[in-house]
């Protein structure tokens, strides 16, 4: 069955009323989550993981995809109206978009962000549709050695490239790997790092760690600062939401350029969305006929980065679905969701669960349309939500986090772990440690160990298998370069100037 046939079949499933309803719920919740500061898509998906016991897999993943895309859309509203980006990838939108709002052009900023997100999200999803099967073909050549090396590359890339300090990134990774090893060793049944506590035999739940780090950690940090209750200025949404002909002329190329930055970089391990949004911003600034407007509310400065952000969201799904490798914290949580259903992501996913995958991809297209329709008319509602006083907003966030974690296993121990991870998240925020390496390390540690052991079993204990196999050697080589090159580059720069 060709990709197009499979996609059409996917549309057939995605347009079923029940599935469409879950997609709508996901888009609504995702936008809500993106609008509200303090909650992100990773946390939201983690909180909804208990639903995997009650809702069919297809509907669940359609909803998660809606949340994922919706959060990217919703983050632009917060960025533009209160200059508070929900995630680092919305920083440039906050910079230019809020300036546009201050000049009475909030409507145009929101419109270009919404339409750009739709255009780029559609381009990204198209790229996913056509490139994913090619990646799957290539991935069939992957054995355990290659998978181990690919995971090493992902872990190194997430730690060494993201964040302000490679040392802190690698430390966060090390902690994540250590936490990922807690529990029973799958091959021998030996308990590791459990301190004799039966509650740790199954390891640390990703949900508990993610919710603790993101929700409780963020709340602790903001409470420690004490500035949230002083309130943020929410820009008034006055004037028209419609873009002028000049606005359209200045935006459309930025949308396409942003999409072409976002998807390939988002698809790479540790590519993320921050890099493409920055690249898009600086490109638009260089190419604009009005460079003097940048920093004061240039519409291209919103259009391009928002498009890059959304295309990167589609890009992140590529390695997750085709290789089973999460390259961001949100993707790591979605991987947990797949595991909750007993579904193995990777090349086999397209053959073993083809219907689910193509329904998911089809629902991304539909989700983009739903989000465009939702965002502009409901912007007044989102503005009202931004005015929820911080004490009640964060009380709600912590109570829902506690409910989600407690409900998953009726375990008070897990609630205790939630707050311990909250303290870890607070410390990471305060001392500038990136969180993504910890989450990705937590999830990939047991998988990487399994792949390594399988590779050594196949090679009869010969460690050189990781270097003698060309693909594995290449991946390990790139990992080594990612560790060494930034250090050498910084040394060279400091010697020069």
């Amino acid at each position: 069955m060709s990709s197009l046939d499979a996609l059409l079949a996917g549309f057939g499933n995605a347009l079923q009323p029940a599935t469409l309803m879950w997609g709508f719920v996901g888009c609504f919740v995702g936008t809500l989550v993106g609008v509200l500061p303090g909650i992100g898509p990773a946390l939201t998906i983690a909180l909804l993981l208990p639903l995997t016991y009650h809702v069919p897999a297809t509907s669940m993943f359609v909803m998660f995809a809606g949340i994922y895309y919706g959060a990217a859309y919703g983050g632009s509203t917060t960025s533009i109206l209160i200059k508070t980006p929900g995630e680092a990838s919305s920083m440039m939108t906050a910079l230019e978009g809020n300036k546009m709002a201050r000049r009475g052009r909030a409507g145009q900023a929101l419109a270009t962000a919404a339409i750009g997100s739709f255009v780029a999200g559609t381009i990204g999803t198209l790229a996913l549709t056509f490139f994913a099967p090619m990646v799957v073909e290539a991935a069939l050549a992957f054995g355990p050695a290659e998978y181990f090396s690919l995971m090493v590359l992902s872990l190194v890339a997430v730690s060494a490239v993201l964040g302000n300090s490679m040392l802190r990134g690698l430390l966060a990774l090390g902690l994540g790997l250590l936490l990922g090893l807690v529990g029973v060793d799958l091959q021998t049944g030996q308990a590791r790092f459990t301190f004799g506590n039966a509650q740790l035999l199954d390891g640390i739940e990703v949900t508990v760690a993610a919710v603790g780090l993101f929700a409780v950690g963020e709340a602790l940090y903001l409470a420690w600062q004490g500035r949230e209750s002083k309130g943020s200025e929410v820009m008034k949404l006055s004037g028209s939401l419609w873009m002028s002909r000049q606005d359209w002329a200045r935006s459309w190329k930025a949308w396409f350029r942003g999409a072409f930055y976002g998807f390939p970089i988002g698809a790479m391990p540790a590519g993320g969305a921050e890099l493409p949004t920055l690249l898009s911003y600086y490109t638009e600034k260089k190419l604009s006929k009005h460079p003097e407007e940048f920093g004061h509310g240039a519409i291209e400065g919103v259009a391009g980065p928002e498009a890059a952000n959304n295309a990167a969201a589609a890009g992140v799904l590529m390695p997750l679905l085709t290789l089973g490798i999460p390259t961001s914290a949100t993707a790591a949580i979605m991987l947990s969701a797949f595991e909750g259903y007993g579904i193995q992501t990777g090349p086999q996913l397209f053959s073993a669960q083809g219907s689910l995958v193509w329904t998911l991809i089809a629902s991304l297209y539909i989700g983009n349309v739903i989000l465009l329709v939702l965002n502009l008319p409901l912007v007044g509602l989102w503005v009202k939500l931004l005015k929820i006083p911080p004490p009640w907003l964060y009380a709600g966030i912590i109570v829902i986090s506690t409910a989600g974690v407690y409900g998953a296993g009726n375990s008070v121990f897990n609630v205790g772990l939630l707050f311990v991870f909250g303290l870890i998240g607070y410390a990471m925020r305060r001392f500038d440690f990136p969180v993504a390496p910890l989450i990705v390390g937590l999830i990939l540690a047991p998988m990487a160990e399994q792949s390594m052991r399988q590779a050594l079993t196949i090679s009869m204990g010969d460690w050189s298998t990781f270097i003698t196999r060309p693909l594995s050697a290449s991946l390990l080589g790139i990992s080594a370069l990612l560790l060494v090159v930034p250090v050498l580059w910084r040394r060279w720069k400091s010697q020069r100037g």
Partner: protein
């Protein structure tokens, strides 16, 4: 707390992890990589990184947001932190005997207090409404097991 103190805490974590790695029993099964190798490598690597972080912190090169001009905490930071954590502790201690709603209300009040909302009837009513709503959505609508809302009613 400063980065140096954090480095000390991390060093203690490494020491405890090293102890736990050392007590993992070797498997009787014949295999190239047993259950102890990867933990040992991870702990060793982490220890090296913690040492480097500690040295960097001693040289004053590590970040502490409490010194950043627009990030430093307002007075009362410790009280706010303890208030939030106290809410969590209240939930953990009371959820089994009292059901979900009352402990979740107290948790919410602790969090709200951490964001400068005074403890009082208004806080109790709003947090009670939040807790009740989430119990209803999670337990009744979504079927997630949160236990009874109030032990003597449901």
């Amino acid at each position: 707390m400063k980065p140096v103190h954090l480095a000390l805490v991390l060093a203690i974590v490494c020491a405890v992890a090293g102890w736990q790695a050392a007590v993992i029993p070797e498997s009787l099964m014949q295999m190239t990589v047993g259950p102890t190798l990867v933990p040992a490598v991870v702990v060793a690597g982490l220890s090296v990184l913690v040492l480097l972080y500690g040295l960097s912190a001693l040289r004053g090169r590590e970040v502490d947001e409490s010194h950043a001009p627009d990030q430093s905490p307002l007075p009362g930071a410790s009280t706010r932190l303890l208030s939030l954590l106290g809410g969590g502790l209240a939930f953990m201690l009371l959820v089994l005997p009292l059901g979900f709603v009352v402990p979740a209300t107290l948790c919410g009040m602790g969090v709200a207090r951490a964001f400068d909302a005074p403890l009082g009837l208004k806080s109790a009513l709003i947090c009670g409404a939040i807790a009740s709503l989430f119990w209803y959505v999670f337990a009744q609508v979504l079927g997630v097991g949160l236990g009874p809302a109030l032990p003597w009613l449901f």
